[in-house]
């Protein structure tokens, strides 16, 4: 069964540095998402992406964050000037189309900011 793939599985970065989290969604999917889960807290929506543009973003997704789908397969989340509070598990998800089709999640990238 096709899977959503995320790399790296764990990223350790100094505060203030930029990080790029990478995702390869399932190939025929059209909707893409990033979520984050701070340790011990619930999974929170960050951003959705459809038709090569952001379709919705949460209050968390400020100017520090950006997303790209540079080559039709990868889907990246960039975090600039990282802060300690950006430490979390970041999940990428994709879904095939409209309606009630569920999202498929990757295994996540654990981001640790030092």
């Amino acid at each position: 069964e096709p899977e959503v793939t995320q790399t790296p599985s764990h990223q350790v970065t100094q505060m203030g540095q930029e990080v790029i989290l990478r995702c390869v969604p399932i190939s025929n999917h059209l909707y893409f998402y990033w979520y984050r889960q701070i340790l011990g807290q619930k999974v929170e929506f960050l951003v959705s992406f459809y038709n090569n543009e952001i379709s919705e973003k949460s209050e968390i997704f400020d100017d520090q964050f950006s997303v790209e789908r540079p080559d039709g397969s990868n889907f990246t989340l960039k975090i600039r000037s990282t802060k300690l509070e950006d430490s979390a598990m970041y999940f990428c998800a994709s879904r095939p189309g409209s309606g009630g089709q569920p999202q498929h999640f990757g295994d996540g990238t654990r981001l640790s900011i030092l």
Binding site: F45, E56, F91, P102, Q103, F105
Partner: protein, 114 residues
């Protein structure tokens, strides 16, 4: 806007006993409902979904859930649990239109005891 409440943060249960994990939601629009399971150091795996029709839905690994519109609930049940069911369980909702982003509950940690 939607919100999801999972009333129990932790549920200990003995092996082969039944279990119910509770989920209540609120929404001003129609929603789809989902249950996901997260095993340690893994992503979110879909257990089951409710889109429309029969209010009792069956999922993988012997789980089922019942949608109750009047009580705005979507409780997850399993008649006999196994040690391998020990995991975190998340209830999620999405609107039936728009970006289909998920709003998650805070999760319930199911611990199955021998």
């Amino acid at each position: 806007a939607q919100s999801v409440t999972q009333l129990d943060s932790q549920v200990p249960v003995f092996e082969e006993a039944p279990v119910e994990l509770r989920c209540n939601y609120s929404s001003s629009v129609s929603v789809y409902l989902f249950w996901y399971v997260q095993y340690p150091n893994q992503g979110l795996q879909l257990l089951l979904k409710y889109l429309s029709g029969s209010t009792l839905v069956k999922g993988i690994n012997g789980f089922e859930a019942e949608f109750n519109k009047s009580q705005t609930s979507f409780h997850l049940r399993k008649p006999s649990v196994h040690i391998s069911d020990t995991a975190e369980y998340f209830c999620a909702v999405s609107a039936t239109s728009g970006t289909y982003k998920y709003i998650f509950g805070t999760g319930t940690r199911l611990k199955v005891l021998a």
